[in-house]
Amino acid sequence: MDYKYIEQLLERYWECQTTLEEEAILRNFFRQADVPASLLRYRQLFNEEDKMADEHLSEDFADKMLRMIGEESTQPHSRGVKARRLTVVRRMRPFYRAAGLVAILLTIGNAAHQSFIDEEETTASTQMAETIPADSIEGIKAGSPDKQSAALAPQPLDTLDAFTR
């Protein structure tokens, strides 16, 4: 292959006599893998310039600049509200949550109420036990059923009078 044209272009390139289009031809030539040995030493120059042309700012730079001057971002999804498709189950989720909360409150309320009633019953039984006479308890301890029933059963006043006579 004849590389005379490329060599001529290269000579004109060093002398700053090439146009931008001719320089683009040179750049494309040196991008290919098959470069003759006589021109190989200049390949690194053009390849290095390609690499330099690939230097970029960070991706968020443009957004940052727009925010600094008070304009909206170039990426609307990064700042706006995202639309989502809602299923029936997902749509009803707040009601489920509310129902669950009510159920929990009712359970706690019932449990508190029940424990209050139990406490009242326990207090009443204790008070009743304190009002029973000591000898009746002795009777209970002695194991006499008659004495027990007699002691525990309410006595009419006239019956009591007959006994005392």
């Binding site: 390139y13 931008l20 320089e23 200049y42 690194q44 230097e55 970029h56 700012l57 730079f61 600049m65």
Partner: protein, 167 residues
């Protein structure tokens, strides 16, 4: 200048300005700050966009000046336009950074070692594809001067590559 807006006209210049600032400061974070300052400066001048003949050239000039200010503030001197002929003494900071980055290619290190104005012109022509007229406008020099600086830069690279390849 019709239909000029920050989003459609100024913001698309960001990467180009970043590459320019990067070749001057040799530091990505500093280059990004320079681009940010440059774009804000251009934005502040929006009332005069109609009067500015070439907004891109204005942005490039602003970016270059900001990047050179960063170098000066950091005490990393760069060469003035009158001193650019010193072929064999690249900026000390560039040289030292080159030594620590051995993976950088021979050509990259040669380009980084060029005086700033040659490096900038080579970038604008060979990487950004600017015409001599556009470069002259951005750097406020004549087209002839642009060609002179570019010729020196290319010749230097060519000669050094030849020598290195022979060795």
């Amino acid at each position: 200048m019709d239909n000029v807006s920050f989003r459609t006209t100024v913001l698309p210049l960001s990467d180009r300005l970043f590459r320019l600032a990067l070749r001057i400061t040799m530091n990505r974070a500093e280059a990004q700050d320079v681009v940010q300052d440059t774009l804000l400066k251009v934005w502040e001048q929006r009332s005069q966009w109609e009067q500015i003949n070439n907004l891109e050239a204005f942005a490039i000039a602003t970016c270059r000046n900001r990047a050179l200010d960063v170098l000066k503030r950091a005490g990393r001197n760069t060469k003035s336009l009158d001193e650019v002929d010193d072929v064999h003494s690249p900026m000390p900071n560039v040289q030292s950074s080159m030594e620590t980055r051995e993976e950088i290619s021979l050509v990259r290190s040669l380009m980084d070692g060029l005086p700033e104005v040659q490096r900038t012109i080579m970038l604008l022509r060979d990487i950004e594809g600017k015409t001599y007229q556009e470069i002259a406008q951005a750097l406020s020099i004549s087209e002839t001067q642009v060609k002179v600086y570019l010729h020196r830069a290319r010749t230097k690279i060519k000669e050094k590559v030849k020598v290195k390849m022979k060795n």
